[in-house]
Structures are given as structure tokens and as C-alpha cells.
Amino acid sequence: MTDDDRVFKALADPTRRFLLDRLFERDGRTLSELESGLDMTRFGVMKHLRVLEEAGIVVTRRSGREKLHFLNPVPIRLIHDRWIDKYRERQVSALADLKTELEEEMA
């Protein structure tokens, strides 16, 4: 699996997207905090967090006795730069071509 595959796989699950949304609201949460919004066992939440960590979208840091979870936006940014920008560019250039063609017809 490539890095991108891992990110897409991690994002392809509503529970994991929910966890990311909670971290987006407020970063640096403990497992107990993340668990509280979900109707799921602690083990289940840990499994989802592990998938997110393996994809690099969640990074954990120790702070005293606690393990805190942080949202790491870089892998998603890389996908944005690699895929989204590319297709947007093509749309923009298609529109630019259309404009040139129309203008030429009118001239």
C-alpha cells in the first residue's frame, strides 16, 4: 500500500472521519475524550485511531502520563497538492480555452 492508499483507506470510514472532525475542533485530545462522543468500545476506538496513525493523519505525543492525539494535516495536504490542484488546473484551462474559442468566433 502506498502512503496515499493508506490515507484514502483511513478516510473511507465515518467513525474515523468523526474522530478527525473532533480533533479539528480541538487538537491534543486523550483517548478517553475521543471515546466519549462515540457509541463504541474503547478497543474499537483504539483500532480506528491506529488506522489513522498508520496513515499519518493522527500523531500521538506523550504529555506526562497522558497520550495526546493530534491531527496532522500534511498527508491530506499532499493529496490536495497531488490530485485536487491538478484537476482544478485542467478545469480552469478548459474554461480559458472555451473563452478564447468564443472570442475568436465573435471576432
Binding site: G28, V59, R61
Partner: protein, 174 residues
């Protein structure tokens, strides 16, 4: 990024794996010939000793963009700070204050830590921790929350571009 009393709330963590040696990543962070090629493109100046000065300079593009938007002048030094710990090519700790905006300037110095670890032959893990306690405006800026205002994508854009540059030999704007 809402307000709260926990220190964790004000910390941002970025991690990226790069096909490059720790030395190459260290150089790309600390040398102006590299920093002008990715991210916001400003040249940096580092005195890599505890207490040594750090400065990042405005680019002509930044000055032009600000003038076009009708904003005030961009200062020559846009970020300043001090080196706290320098352990090449593994760890760099520094203070960091943005001077491009009066609000971020007033928020004062924040703490930035770069950690570089080799995870395989020619592959390294760069982890950047930005402690943004008491700097909500800067947190929004470096978190990419002001991208639609023309302030760029913050650290995630910078490190994504750094990876692109080191792996392909060309930054995203090159």
C-alpha cells in the same frame, strides 16, 4: 482551534516522511539557498547556537502582493526568534515570532521544535511541533485557517512543498 485552558489545545503537530537523509532536511530548513525554494520562499538566517539569532526575510512577491491588496508595507524581517537548542541533523528548537501582522507581533514569541529521524535507508521522518500558547492569531495563520484570505496554507503547505522539493528536485512553484 478553540480556546481552552489545557496546554495541548495550543500545540500543533506536523509530520511528514521524506525520501531524503536527515542532513538534507536539516539543510533545507536552515539554509537560505533552500528556504527560498519552497513554502513562502523567504530566505532565512540562522546562528545555530543556543541564544543565536534567527531571521526570515520577506520576498519581493510578498511585498508586491501586499501592495496590490492595498495593505501596509511588509517589513524586511517577517519572522524573528532565537535558537534554543541545535543538534544537527536531529533536533532544532527555537523561538518564533511573526512580524507581518501587528496582532501576531503582539502575541510575541512561540516555540518551534523540529525533530528529524532516519526511519529507513534514505527515508526520514520530520516532526514539527509548534507550541502556540497565547498566540491564537498565529495559530490560525500557521494552521492554514487564513488561506482563503491569501495568507497561504501555513505549515502543512510548507512541509508538503519541502517534501516535493527534496524528492523531485523541484518545488511546487518551480
Amino acid at each position: 482551534m478553540t480556546t481552552g485552558t489545557e496546554t495541548a489545545v495550543t500545540t500543533q503537530v506536523y509530520r511528514v516522511y521524506i525520501k531524503a537523509t536527515p542532513e538534507a532536511i536539516w539543510d533545507a530548513i536552515t539554509q537560505p539557498e533552500w528556504t527560498e525554494r519552497y513554502g513562502y520562499g523567504g530566505r532565512v538566517e540562522y546562528d545555530l547556537r543556543p541564544g543565536g539569532a534567527y531571521r526570515a526575510f520577506a520576498t519581493d512577491d510578498m511585498k508586491r502582493a501586499r501592495a496590490e491588496m492595498g495593505g501596509g508595507p511588509v517589513p524586511d524581517v517577517i519572522v524573528d526568534g532565537e535558537v534554543v537548542e541545535s543538534d544537527p541533523p536531529r533536533k532544532l528548537v527555537q523561538t518564533w515570532r511573526m512580524l507581518m501582522d501587528p496582532q501576531t507581533e503582539a502575541e510575541g514569541f512561540t516555540r518551534l521544535t523540529y525533530e528529524i529521524a532516519e526511519t529507513g535507508p534514505g527515508v526520514s521522518k520530520l516532526t514539527v511541533t509548534h507550541d502556540l500558547e497565547g498566540a491564537p492569531r498565529l495559530a490560525l495563520f500557521v494552521g492554514g485557517g487564513m488561506e482563503s484570505d491569501g495568507a497561504g496554507g501555513g505549515w502543512s503547505e510548507v512541509f508538503s512543498d519541502l517534501k516535493t522539493l527534496l524528492e523531485t528536485g523541484r518545488g511546487m512553484r518551480e
